[in-house]
Each structure stands twice: as C-alpha cells, then as structure tokens.
Point group: D2
Chain length 452, copies 4
C-alpha cells in the first residue's frame, strides 16, 4: 500500500444517510462529543463530508424539499478529530491549531450541488422580505466549472472551500455563547433595527435537543440529553471558527484555530463548490458533499503569542486565516454600490448590513434586465465568486458597501453600453428555478424592487 | 502644439491656497454651482485637485493641524465640469455619464501624502473609542511606492484613486438628502446601537454656511447665502456618487453616474494615493493632491435603461462601477475575522459594522505584536491596500466580516510560526507617528484591547 | 448510479504494468491504431494514464532506473478515443476537435512523481554537456503542493497538465513526419551548430519496432510489424499536438486540435504535476500517473475556418490553445537572461535556443550560491513553474531569452542583497538527488560553470 | 521648493532635435563617454529620453520616414549617469548596480508612439521575408491605454518599460564584443541556417563613425574619431544590459547591472509604451519618448557574490532582473504554437528561433481571419502585451515555442467557435497602416502564408 497520499480518516458513503455512516457525524458544538479519529501533526489526511443537509435537499427539480427542510439538523459535520504532535502529545487549550487545506473537492461520483432560498417561514435569507418563497437551483460540475439548468448563460470556476472549520469549545466558551445568544433572543426585535426588515428570521438558534446528533454519544441516553441541551448550534461563525463562510479558504489556505479542549477536536463540514461573499440566500453557496485533504501543525501556546482577547474574557478571540495562491484570475468586475439608506428611504447610521443589502438589491435589479428573473440573480449572487466589500465605513451617515461581480462568468456582455438596450428577456422566467408559493401569514414589505 | 494627450481643464497650483486657485473650487453639492469648464464626450481631459483639506493638513511632523482641522471645509472639489456630446448637446437628467479613469497620480513636485486619525472631539474615526487622539503619519512616494518614516518596515504600491467622483444633484434629490439626514440627527442616539459605541461622532453633517465654498458664486452674496443653507455636505457617498471611497477605482476603471442636472456637472476630489477598504481612520487614506485624466461618454436615457430606483422615488438610484485591469498582484494575504459580538461581549444581530470593527481590532492587536504601536497599525490598515469583506451576512446571529492584508507589504514575515515568538518591539513607540493628547471630556470606553 | 460526474472511459490500475492494463495503451502515432473507447461531443469523460515511463522509473531513491531507462518505450498513451457528435456522426478530417480540460490530477493513492536528468548516453537533456550523469529527484504531493527530499527548501503549487494531447495523424501526415525527420538524421551533425554542443543527443527518433506498443494490434502480427515500422515516435510536438509540453494547459484550458482521421482518435499521456517552460532536464517535469476530465466539441470544417497551412501542404498546420483562468498567483519573479553567445564566447546569430541555454545556466549558477548543488537547481528549473521567454529576437546579433522564477517557491529570500552574502552551502551536496557516474566515452565540454 | 519627488537629472525638450538637447545624448557604448550627471545611491531621480529615433520617425501617416530611417543613429540614450554611494564613493568595477524603476511613462504633452516594420533593405524584422515593406502604425495614448487608427478594434493597457538600461563597458569588455561580432560578420551567411531565411538582415552592426553621437565628446575631434571607431552599437542586449527588451520591466521592477567602469555610467533609452515578447517587427514596440524615475543601490563586490562568468573571461556575465507587482490582469489567453519545421517543410533541430517564427506566423494568419490585414497583425503582435514562450526545448527534433495573446485586447471574441465563421473582413485593408512598396532586388521567399 502506498505510504504517500492523504490518509482517509473520515470516510463517507454518499448513498447512505447521515446516521448510517461508518463514523458517526455530529451537528452541534460541545466539548464532550468524543473524537472519531486521531491524526498527527505534519500528516496529510483526508476527511469526507456529507452536504450540510445530509441529503435532505435532493437533486430533484423541486423546491418542496427546501421549503420543508428541517432547520434543526444543520450542519452535519465530520469529526471531531483529535490532533497530537509528533511525540503523541495532544494539542492543549491555549495552543493554536494551524490547518492547511492542501486539496479539496466534491466526492467522486457526486459532482453536483444546490443553491437555495429558504422559505420565509423556515429561516429565510438576507433578502427574505423581497424573496419569501422557497426556491432551488441545481448545479452540475464539469471539473472546476459549475453550470445550472436553472440559471442558464452562466458558467464559472469554483473557488471551492469548506463553510465550517472549527475546534470544540470548552465548557466556559460554550456558556459564553449560550448566554449571549439567549440574551439576544430575549431582548428581541424591538432593539434591532435590521430586524424590522428581517423580522421573520430567528434572531439566534439556541440549543435544542430536537434534531440533535452527537456523534458517538448514544441518542436518548441521559448523557445525550444533557449534552444536547447545552450544545451550541452550528449556524453562526464564532470564536472556534465554525461557520465562517470565508469563500477564499480554498486550496493552499491555512486556518489558525484556537484550541479550547485537549486534542483540539477539529470538525469540518458544509462544503461549498463556490460561494459569493455573504452567501446571501442563506442556503446560498453551491452546497455539496465533498472532501478535504488537510495537514495540521500545533503552535504551542499560540493563543497567547498571537491572539488578543477582544472581550471580557481570555476566550474572546477569533481565528486567523491565510489565503492561498490558487485562485481563478478574473480581470474585469462590474461593481454595485449600496449606501445605508433603506428601501423606504430611511437613513441609517453607518450600517454596513443595510448598505450591503442595498448593493445586492441593486445588482439583482440590474442583472434582471439581461434576461434573468430576480430569483435567478439572487441565487447566482449567493453562489458565484462575487466579492462583497466594506468600501467606506466612516463617512457619516452612509456606510458604502460594494458587490463586485466578475464579468467573465456571463455568456453575454453585461456592461452598460452607450447605444442599444440590454438584451431583454432572453430567458423565460418559467424556465427558471423551481419555486414554491409563499403561504406564510406575515405581511411582506412592499417596495419598488420587489414588485413586477 | 500637440493635439494629443489630455486637455487640462482644471489646473491647480499647489503653492496656492484653495481660494486662490485660477478656477474656483467648491466643497458642497448643489445644482446651482456653475460649471467652471466644459468637455466633450470622447475627449481626454485632465483635472487637477488639491488634497481634501486644501493644504490645511501639512507635511510637518506634528498632529496639531489634524487636531484643529476645520471639518466644515471638507472636501475641496474641482469642477463642476459640464459635459456635452459630439454635437454639443449637453448631458440631460435621466442620462448616465460613463467616466473612464485613464490615468491619475499625484501632482508633479508634490509627491507626498498623509494619513490621520481625527481627534474624538473633531469627528474621530471608526475606532474613535479606542483611539481618541489626533495622530498623523506622513508618506513619501517613490513612483508607485509609498513609505512613511512614521510606520517603518512597510512599503507598498499604491492603488491610487479619487475618493470623490460625483454629479450635481437636482433640487429634488438635494431635498431628499437633507430631509433624511435631518431626520437621522433628530431621531438621534437612542435608536442606533452603533452610536453607543461611536457616540461622539456626528450622526450626519447637515448643510452649514460656515466654511462653505461655492465656486463661482460670490461669497456673502444673497444667492450664496441661500445656496449655502441648502447645499449638501460632501462627506457621505450618495446617489450621485460622491465620497464613495471605492479603493479599486484606479487606472482603467469606469464610473457610471446618474445625471440629475443639465450638463451633468461632474466634480472630483479627495485623491488617495492608497486606501484600505473602509478607510477606517476616517482621514485614513494616503490623502494627497493629484490629477485625473478622464474620458466621458453619455449614455442617453441610461438611468431608465440600467438603474432601478431602490426607494420611494425615481431618484433613489446608485452609480455602477467597473474595475480596471491594472492592479498590483499580491499572492498571499493574512486574514482577520470579526463577528458581531462587541468588545463588552454583547451579541449583535447580523451587524456587519460591528463585525468589521472587530476584524480591524483583531488585526491591530495582532500586528502590534510585530513591533508596531496600535496607532501605527490603525493608520496602516486605513491606507494600505487591504480588503474588507462581508464574508457571512446570514448565519444568525453573527455577521462575519474579514480584513485581508497583503503579506508582501511588510519587510518581515508576519505569519504565525510553529516555533519562536513574534519579533517583539523592534520599533520604539515614540518613533511612531506624532500624536496629540486627548483632552475631551467624554468617557472613553474601557476594553482589553484599548489598554496598552 | 449517478448520471453526473465524468464517465470513466480509460481506467488505469497503477499496480499493473503498461501491458497489463484493462484497455491496451500505445506509444506511437499511427492512423491504424484502433480506438479503445468512444465519447460524444459535450459529454464529460475521464481518462486515466500511467506515467510516461509506465512505471519504469520508480520511487526508489536511486538513479539507476533513469540511467538504464529504455527510451524506445516512451510515452505510454491512453486512447485512442473516437469522438462522435450528438447525432453519432464522427469527427472528420478537416474538423477541429476542441478539447476542454475540466479537471485533472494525480491518480488517487499514487500522489508522487519524479524529475530526472537522462544520462548523456541515453538521450541527455538540454544541458547534457554540463550535466551528463543520470540523476533523479522524487517529489511528494500534498494536495496542490509538491516537495522533494532531494531538493529541500522549496515547495510549490503545481500547474498540473498533460504533456501530450494529440489526434491520430493521417497516412499523408505520417509520411511527411517520417520523411523530414529522416532527412534531418541523414543531414546530420555538420549542418546544425547547436549539435556541436548537444552532440550526443539523437537528432530525431525515427520509427522503430523495438519497444513499440500499438494498442489493440497484436504484437508480432504482420499488421503490427508493418505499422510499427511506420508509426511515429511520440517525443516531439507536431501538427497533431503531441508532446507540446505547454505548462499552462491546466484546469479550464482548451486545445483546438486538427482532425486527420475519422473519429479524431484522441490520445493523451505524459502527465506533469508541474513543469517549467522548456522542461530542460528532458525527463524534466514532475512526471506522474494521472487523470484528465475532458469535454470535446467538434468544430466542423474548422481547419479551413481557423488554421492556415504553414508549409508546402494543407497538413502543415498547428493546434491552437486557450489558457484557462485557474493558476497560482505569484507576485514577484527573479529573472535570468541569456544572450546568444555560447560558453566558449562565440557569437551566434539570433539563436533563441543558445540564449535560453545561457539563461538557464545563469540561473543554475546563481541559485547554487544559496546552498544548492547545480544538479538540484537544474532539476528544479525543469519542473517548477518558471517561465521561459523569448524577450528579444530581432536585435542582431543577440537573441535575448529570459527565465523567470517565482520567488515564493523558496523558503529563503533569493534576491540579491545590498549587504551580506548569499546564505552559503546550507544544504550538503551528498544529501542531494541520487546520481549515477557518467561512464560514457564522449569528451565533455569544459566550461567555467560546469567545473567545481 | 519640494524636497520630495524625483530630482530631474536629464531633461528633454521634445520640440528639439537630439543634438540640441540641454545635456548631450549618446548612441554608442564606450567607457570614455563622460557622465552628464551624478546621483547618489538611495536618491529618487528622473531621466527623460527622446524616442529611439530621436524624432526621425514622425507622427505623420506615412511610412516613408521608416523606409529611409538612418539605422546608424539608433538608439539615442540619456546619460551616462555616474553613481556614488551615500559617502560619495563611486560604484566600482565588480560592484552590482541595483536600479529600481519606481515610475515611468510618456513625456507630458507627447503622448503618442509608433510601431514600424523596417524595409527589408533597411534591416527588416523577424519576418522580413514575409513582410519586406516599410510599414508604420501610429498609437495614441489615453492614460494607460493605447489605440491606433491603423489597427482598429484593439485597445490595451501598456506594460511600459525602457528597452535599454545599461552600464558602460570597460575597454576589455568592449574588445570582447567587437571581436566576437566581427567574427560573426566574417564567418557570415553560410554557417547560419537562420540566415537563409533572414538573409537580407545584417548579421551584426559593427562600430561605425557614421551617425555616431558621443555625448560631451566633441564631434570630429581626434578623440571622437578614435572612440567612434571603437564604440559598440546599441542594437543587441549584451553583458552590460543594453537593449534587452524585457517587456515586463515596468513599475516596481529592479535591474541588477554589473559595473565595469568607475561610477557605473548608467544610460537609458528606447522607451516602449508596450511591447510583445520578441518585439518581432524590430522597430516593433510602441516606441515613444518618455521618462524614468529611478532609485539606485550599489551592491559592493556584487559581481563576485552573485554572478558567474559564463564564458572564457570574468566579464562574461549577464544582468539579473526582478519583475515588479504592477501589471494588467489578463484572465484568458489564446495561444499559438510553432515547431521547428520551417515554411518549406524542412526539419530543424531544436531551434527555438524557427519555432517562434512559426508561432508568430500562425498567429498572424489566424487573426487575419478576423478582419485584419497580415501587416496589421504583425505590427500588433510586436507591440501588444503578448507572451512568447519556449515551451519545449528538449523533445528532439522539435523545439516548441508559443505565443500567447490576451483575448481582452480585442473588441470581438477571437476564439474559435463551434458554429459560424470568423467575422470576415470587417476592416478594409486600405484603411490599414501606411506602407511603402518594396523596391529591393532580393528575391522574396515564396510560401503559402505570404501570398494572398
């Protein structure tokens, strides 16, 4: 047998369900979820992963599965993986774990993915008040390229990356998370202006035993019950890395993760064939199953050496990332701008979230003049390699955010022209992505761009 | 005489004060400020500009001029320039003005710039609660490169651009601006969470006759009085372009600006030798005098063809930008992440501004381990070609923002290492940038990273 | 079974010898070698390939296998593959076959490669008069990166590509090849100045039955004998593509190949994990087994539409290539120059081969000051992503050729410094690559750089 | 007066002739040409330069000036410039002079250039047997972009650079040059196969007093006579740098030049707005007047530390170059290949010059299908930012050279298409560049691509 190439430490069989995999998966963060594998620093190893929904969202051309997707089960992660050094001594709290992404990709034989808009009743997305209905696009991969029958006329190379890379939190860190997120839920809507716009989205996703999967811990046991009530959901990025959704974390990148428990207990998942900055449709990257080939190093005492707590405790730190050299070259970009004035004309104060929302809406309206439905563009901007920038954050009262789209991904020239008009509806809307009707009972905000 | 090369339409003499220039400058937006020049579509023309402060901030190694900088006079702009087509017919409301940036740079003989932190009492910056004191770094240019005696060990090629490119607003648009910004000022602090952090910064800068310069309109005349009371300040980016601070708007870029008045009345200013995304220190790019060589095209009826109003009126539109192909290649980036949990540990809901603040603070603390003072890094991140991204905006409750810094701008390797410790204070703090004491009477937020 | 992902049309078992593979391989070009598979235009398919030597060169740390490598068997190719359009109509002579490289890489479980200098007696390389001994370096792959225990201190991302992509020649084209190469062999040494330098290398490799492998044609049969005597060797690039060794033909590239026989009969092989322009050590890329995922389109009548015969017949055409967008970013390069004055000081007239030889020798001597043996650098420059350019080809009498090396592949700064000296021999020569003694009886040219 | 910005050490008045400039120019290499200026290491200084022809080729739309251009006067250089260190001690033989190109560009008010094919009788170019007639295209600059009325449909950003950067040779080096080039002239045609193709081009350009300009040395004096008879022509690149025509030597690059005489005596000239690798039309870049802003460092004893003599004497060395980070991004390239089989079908042995000639001819024929005359394409490939690579130099008998053209410089899609035919003659030939009739009496080689 070859002693070169990556050692497979977490295998996945894509024909099996999440709970039937050889090594158990998990979908919560908790210090007591036992490792399923161990690797040595310096060793090249391979982790395989189901897609975030564990096959719940299928390759059928329907959005019904998206509409009724159970949000309590996301994200199925592979791991935890215990990391030891060359002498067999495990990573320890206070160390930094340097994780190099040497290679990654879809699982062989499973070269497809999906991008979806969640129904407003089911979590929605960044623009849920404009696009409340469950919608889905299927993407097929041709090597580095993705194309979709639901968004014709675009094809682009993926900047493939894991949405989630994280270490297990300690008990103390878990308590901090749960407390601050619970407080947010309690304080509620009235104190957050953005919520007026996104008011149907949950403010936070607190621990719940419903849907909880805890790896080797037997479901239903007293231990499982206790841990399930404490374990943090995987939706947000946090101090341990987690769902940071940094789209450039592709081949050749490195993540420097703080270690909070012995062995580091590294978990990965939520593979994205490609994602736009912000992943605006929420389920918005090209979601897929996939593999990572990783190499870890332990930086002893690295938290003290390199990280500074940015809050009341020593645990309020964030990972550091290093972007690799392998990336598609795009030479020209069309850039849409948003300022922090909302759709009602109301002025917000240096609010980058509102500004970015405006930039995305501007881009959607613009591109819908080139033959696309707005849902198609919303899906596209969520998953294509577009860049979301905070351009100005000091010029009161307006934050300026920009969304830059590589022109080369389209098979038509999408730039404004001195003469002529945009091509017009070349693509018929009902050839677009499958979409459910919205049957929620919340009022939908009216605004110029949502109509028609 | 050569009939090729750019025709100089607005000359600047850097030895003269703003009010002594051959063609009068202006520092407000108003439809009635008369054009100082006229150009034809397709013609290459040159506009020269004073720095945004009009020489108020000097190349002396002191921060006193920053501390007492009069904020009412920013930004001195060159123009307005009236644009007509090949037949002499002016641009008209509803058209789009495509402005190509063919070339730009510092003014010959004036190859230097400054980056400054405003005093908290005088407007502050993005991190004013951490860095309340007026501080200044001087940069010298060696062709495409900038270096500063105040931030030793870095040298980088500038991605030079104009901070401000804009057309004159119509009366209607001006009214919209003034009304919404006045409302913000009136609603005030209690409704904006970010203000709890940035509470000493003005919420908006409403029209004021003080410091107002209106081009050819005689100061003190009744007409001047009326216009000065209506004319919008130039600090924020708005529907007309304005202070959008998009750092990639360099050679080869194009700006598609909506036209609101006959002739478009294009103005430019606030030249930046280089800027980081966000321009976090506020006066935070490498500010300089400079020139632009531009070429305009008129896209007749372009607003209807290409822009969608994103608010209650047809004027609620934003410009579109096209990024050119000329850019320094950086192959490796170190990336800092912030999530929307503030320094007190409080959880905010999908707030990209808070997340970006955290990312910048993380970067400052990290780089201060390599021999820099925090003020030096704050200045550096404000002006070097770093990228500020909205990486995740849907994973409730955390927005994830990232700040990516090109590794090659440093003369040391700033990556975390498996062994050893960061170089340690190679640079002594008191060789750093000149800084004033803060003598304000507002309480300064205490947090771990602000203390030494 | 998944109907997405690439269909495997030529499988390889790397544990088996070339003649034991499920589908027979071939190592000659001939119109009568029968296809082993058929694909449809538009279909994504996968071809697997042995390394060019078919396992003859092993991963043992010895150069003996290189020294006695049988040159008659190179290169083992996979195919031919017959191409038909959506209606089942085959590609026809006169068409162009557009072959898109959607993905590629090493074969799973076989992630290693080798770079070798052939012995002067056995074909040698570009610098055989300086480096006459068989030498070999083994490379291991960590995802996109390669490193070698024989050339420590370098690690680089591969720009992986097939060395050989070609269609079958027609009888007429085969005759042209054989005739012109036979004429070269006959005219011989006296008429080619470069041969004075490279005089032990064969001028051409004419058809030979020895070592010949012809796919499905039974070895030893009369048909085999006839074809083997006619079939062209695979060493040079020619009108059908063939061994063009264009190092940028990586993911996302396209090759437009002329079609000379019905079905096109596409063959591929000689996979390179990475190669420098020129592949100077001859066996000089990082040679490996591997796979290609391809998609073909037929451009009917494309030769007439797009190609111009560049010689006496309509068959004197060359393929066209399109380079894809996926490439490692290198921001800084150190460039070595050569002019067409040879090592003896003799002036050659606009000879780019001599100039490039000088550039490579200059680079070898320079880098050997940083702790490497010259053999190590020769191997490195042959396989790392360096660029060989024809910078000036008109400034008589000197051609100027340049070799640009990305600085980032080294773990030390290899630039000249104002102070200090190069690091000095950090790496001891006998830790370098395994090397055989040269026991040939040809005199070795003496020159300053070959000594020591 | 500002003490920042570059100090102007060699001014040029473009309205004056070469011999009327304030500081005298020179067009030969010789150790005794006296310096016209002195600079200190570390100082930023500015050198201005006439175009290589000193205004001999004008912006008139005629090729008559090209046809009768006096080849004896090229290239007019600015300098020599004496370099001393911070203590005033001059650079010495054996040092390396590191010359950083901080900025460069056309001279203000003179923003235009030309690309020309020399008449076969007057030196010709790389393809003189195919294109024997004097031809000229005028280019106008719009900032970083160039466009030509003679080659419509293309516009590209210039990678501006000096064609010539060099130090003065010592007497010994000058003797080596003169001797080896004289030997070439004497050995002559019969020994160089390339000459059979390019037989009307001079093999070398030996010293001649005719047209000689020697800076401060008074013309006609005995000293002038002696030096003029010894001084080397500036056409080829040589050990001192000289006319190396490396197109990437743009902003941010560095040249490490050997020092042969006290003070180094640096000269520069032959500014190119843009050039393709090889500069195939000979007068083939976009030739212009221009300026350089430079910074020098002296690396004491640098020749011994960093360079290896590559010939019989210690003077047989070549400069080293470092390419800067500022470059236009091009994401897609169309690549043409040539192999070392000439137009008559004759096989050459690993001859990169023949292979590159074929690649260029293939590109010319291909692009002429998109509405261009062949002369237009020849001019274009000579001056646009195309890359000429030595792809394979070991696969006997064929060298493989490639020419890669950035697709984005055209206003049409020049890729082969599955359906349709190339656009066809959109541009009429007689709107092309001005061209003289060829009235030479040498037979013109007939080949398929030259006809029609």
């Amino acid at each position: 047998m070859s002693n070169h190439g990556a050692r497979l430490v977490v295998p996945i069989d894509v024909k099996k369900k999440p709970r039937e995999q050889k090594l158990p998966l998990h979908n919560r963060w908790h210090p007591e979820i036992p490792p399923v594998a161990e690797i040595r620093a310096g060793e090249l190893f391979r982790v395989e992963m189901v897609d975030f929904s564990g096959g719940g969202i299928t390759k059928e051309y329907t959005a019904e599965d998206v509409k009724f997707q159970d949000p309590s089960i996301v994200h199925y992660l592979s791991g935890p993986i215990r990391v030891v050094d060359a002498d067999g001594i495990p990573a320890k709290p206070g160390d930094l774990l340097a994780v190099e992404i040497c290679n990654l990709g879809p699982l062989p034989g499973d070269e497809w993915g999906f991008t979806a808009i969640f129904d407003r009743e089911n979590g929605g997305g960044f623009l849920t008040d404009h696009f409340p209905c469950a919608t889905k696009a299927i993407w097929y991969f041709e090597g580095i390229y993705a194309y979709s029958p639901h968004i014709p006329g675009v094809r682009f190379p993926g900047l493939t990356h894991p949405g989630i890379v994280g270490t297990a939190p300690s008990v103390e860190l878990l308590n901090i998370w749960n407390e601050r997120e619970r407080k947010l839920e309690e304080t509620g809507l009235h104190s957050f202006k953005l919520c007026e716009v996104l008011h149907s989205r949950p403010l936070a996703n607190l621990p719940s035993t419903y849907g909880c999967v805890l790896g080797k811990i037997e479901e239903g046991s007293p231990e499982w019950e206790r841990i399930a009530r404490e374990a943090a959901r995987t939706i947000p990025g946090r101090e341990n890395g987690g769902n940071c959704d940094i789209k450039n974390l592709s081949r050749g990148s490195k993540v420097y993760l703080p270690v909070f428990v012995e062995g580091a207990n590294l978990s990965t998942g939520d593979m994205h064939f490609s994602q736009g900055d912000g992943e605006v449709a929420f389920c918005g990257a090209i979601e897929m199953s996939g593999f990572l080939e990783l190499k870890c190093e332990i930086i002893r005492d690295g938290m003290r050496k390199y990280l500074t707590p940015m809050g009341p405790t020593a645990l309020h730190v964030n990972p550091i990332f290093e972007i690799g050299p392998m990336e598609p070259r795009f030479s020209e970009w069309l850039v849409f701008e948003g300022i922090s004035v909302d759709e009602s004309g109301r002025q917000h104060y240096l609010d980058a979230s509102v500004a970015y929302k405006r930039a995305v809406l501007n881009a959607i309206d613009y591109l819908s003049r080139f033959g696309y439905s707005k849902e198609q563009v919303y899906l596209l901007l969520s998953c294509c390699p577009c860049e979301g920038r905070i351009s100005g954050i000091v010029d009161a009262p307006n934050a300026v955010a920009t969304l830059a789209i590589p022109i080369a991904i389209f098979d038509q020239d999408i730039r404004p022209k001195t003469t002529g008009v945009p091509t017009g509806p070349r693509l018929v809307r009902n050839q677009g992505p499958p979409q459910c009707n919205y049957d929620g009972n919340l009022p939908i905000t009216k605004n110029p761009s949502a109509t028609t």
